[in-house]
């Protein structure tokens, strides 16, 4: 009787772990002759933006014949560090990190540096450690684009709400900086400025609260589309007419712009960030020198 149970357990475990591994083509990554293995540690794969980034990187890796290992940090800095350590133990040739946080990623970069593995950061930068290249959208320019668009649409005066991203994240800081620079000197007044942590559900609830508090709002600038779409639900439910501008141009947001629900969204090109990342990684591995900062272009999507 006991034996049966052991057998059932063994079988289930092998199914759970083994098959999952083989199913994804779990080849060994010693970095066979000529082929490079690149690790990609993504802050979260629960956000379509980073899924796009991963897809772009994967497509480029397939094209260039590199093998790519993608790990998800689930927005937790400790998990991120564990992921990088696991990649170091696997002996990958280069690690691309999309940090959960610019400060906390320092230990992870140090772990890779200690093993002599070059690091490239994507989207968010690292505040410490040796990074050969940082690839990101020009967020300040994007924030400015959004700000200028709102100024133009409102004719230079009105009340706006700024929904901020994760406090301290460089993307949130830079987008806010660009936006506020663009509206400075105009008659636009920011009546509320709150964080919704780049999250759609929080965008909804935070906006609901702001709508209760502010009788007059003409426009909303959200640091990302998830928050913009959350805010859109709140605005729709309130029946008020408020212009919303998002950032990232995710599929949902572009559809909302086409439907006239969102006024505009700043298009980052996450797939480009991923693919330029892999491209740069291959250059580094090939011994070429690359720029420390590689900005990726942005564009404004309107109806």
């Amino acid at each position: 009787m006991n034996k049966k149970r052991y057998f059932a357990l063994a079988l289930a475990l092998v199914l759970a772990v083994g098959l999952a591994g083989c199913g994804t083509g779990g080849t060994d990554n010693g970095g066979g002759e000529g082929e490079y293995t690149i690790g990609l540690v993504v802050s979260t794969l629960n956000n379509p933006f980073f899924v796009d980034l991963r897809d772009g990187a994967q497509a480029k890796a397939d094209e260039l014949g590199a093998s790519l290992i993608v790990l998800d940090s689930q927005d937790d800095a400790a998990t991120e560090l564990s992921n990088v350590e696991d990649l170091v133990n696997q002996g990958v040739d280069l690690i691309m990190i999309n940090p959960t946080d610019s400060d906390a990623v320092g230990s992870a970069v140090a772990a890779a540096n200690g093993a002599g593995i070059p690091v490239i950061t994507l989207d968010r930068s690292a505040n410490s450690g040796d990074v050969v290249a940082h690839i990101a959208s020009d967020n300040v320019a994007g924030g400015e684009m959004a700000g200028e668009f709102i100024v133009e649409q409102l004719g230079g005066a009105g009340k706006v709400v700024e929904l901020e991203g994760i406090p301290g994240a460089s993307a949130a800081r830079e987008r806010g900086e660009g936006f506020n620079a663009a509206i400075e000197g105009t008659d636009l007044e920011v009546v509320a400025r709150q964080t919704a942590n780049f999250d759609r559900a929080e965008g909804l609830s935070v906006m609901e609260n702001i709508l209760q508090a502010q009788p007059e709002i003409d426009a909303i600038f959200a640091h990302n589309d998830e928050m913009a779409l959350g805010a859109l639900e709140a605005v729709k439910a309130s029946g008020r007419d408020i212009m919303i501008v998002g950032f990232d141009a995710t599929d949902d947001a572009v559809a909302a712009v086409e439907a006239g629900d969102l006024a505009a969204t700043v298009q980052q090109l996450p797939k480009d960030i991923g693919s330029i990342g892999v491209d740069t990684a291959m250059k580094v591995l090939g011994g070429e020198t690359v720029d420390e900062y590689i900005p990726v272009a942005l564009e404004l999507v309107t109806q």
Binding site: N2, V17, T24
Partner: protein, 322 residues
């Protein structure tokens, strides 16, 4: 069987009493076949270090679950104590003082949980759900939502050694974990308060009628959980070199999983620190193994869920058949 019968029997008895060990062994053996990088010294060290944080929290959780309680606030305790420790280190305070002060804060929070549950007669789930939310909010207020870096004073490098340092080739957090295991094991098995803890979990009324002050045991148990969560907060902060306001979110669930995989009954009274240690190892190895096998992160949670359910189902069946 033959000539090994006696030895074999002991071995078998041990394994059938310790199902989690079987799960762990199968996991290790399977993995070493699937990846030649798995059973390397550096990877073993990595897994142990990664596991230490959850193991320390789970040890405290074991005390709470042994008396039939639960502590959901551990992740938030980790966050707020980590943040306070980081700012104290950055201010240049003596490291030993920082550690003592941080552990005392953990103790205070634990005692608060204990008071709410014993004197306040709140359900442990509700009481600690309350403090979990409260402390997460206080952490955001204290940090203003921004990470606090430990760097900027002379003692920063020394503090970060707690998380990143080595002694005789083994990471410091691993020693901390082992010391925590030992003290907890000794407390539960060789001290009066340990026996009372088991007694309270088996039968609260009987324990009360035998003249034991059950309120004091509850205070003690939640204080242990609070102190160990604070200790984990110190390790995480030292490892990362900064305290994240969102640190530790969901850690309570990993800790509960480790305790339950380790064979501790959620009803209380049954369970061991050894089981929890094995449970934490299983979760740690699973995380590491799934990364090594390049399992998509979406499937990782599926696999983890399956292993938790199997481990618990096996344990339950065994208990029933006894």
């Amino acid at each position: 069987m033959g000539k090994f019968s006696l030895k074999g029997r002991n071995w078998k008895q041990f394994l059938s009493d310790n199902k989690p060990v079987v799960v762990l062994l199968i996991l290790v053996v399977t993995m070493s076949f699937l990846s030649d990088r798995f059973l390397t010294w550096s990877n073993i060290i990595t897994v142990l270090r990664q596991t230490s944080i959850n193991a320390v929290i789970a040890t405290g959780m074991t005390f709470a679950i042994l008396i039939g309680g639960i502590d959901l606030s551990v992740g938030s305790v980790l966050a707020i104590t980590g943040a306070i420790a980081a700012s104290l280190v950055a201010s240049g305070m003596n490291i030993i003082l920082v550690v003592i002060l941080t552990l005392l804060i953990g103790l205070g929070i634990g005692l608060l949980n204990g008071l709410l549950i014993s004197k306040g007669r709140l359900q442990p789930f509700i009481a600690t759900l309350g403090t979990m939310t409260l402390l997460r909010g206080l952490t955001l207020v204290y940090t203003q939502g921004r990470p606090i870096s430990i760097f900027g004073s002379d003692t920063s490098a020394m503090f970060s050694k707690i998380g990143t340092g080595y002694f005789l080739g083994i990471p410091i957090p691993v020693y901390i974990m082992l010391v925590v295991f030992f003290i907890s094991w000794y407390t539960l098995n060789h001290l009066k308060i340990g026996r009372y803890t088991y007694a309270l979990g088996s039968n609260e009324e009987a324990t009360m009628y035998s003249g034991i002050k059950t309120d004091n045991i509850k205070l003690f148990v939640y204080a242990v959980a609070g102190v160990l969560a604070a200790l984990a907060g110190i390790i995480v902060t030292a490892r990362l070199g900064s305290a994240q306001p969102t640190a530790g979110s969901g850690y309570e669930l990993d800790a509960i999983a480790a305790v339950v995989i380790g064979g501790t009954s959620m009803a209380g009274g049954i369970g061991t620190i050894f089981g929890t240690a094995i449970g934490a190892m299983i979760i740690g190895i699973l995380n590491n193994a799934l990364n090594m096998l390049q399992v998509s992160s979406y499937y990782q949670d599926v696999a983890k869920g399956v292993v938790i359910l199997i481990a618990v189902l096996l344990d339950r069946k065994q208990r029933k058949s006894r």
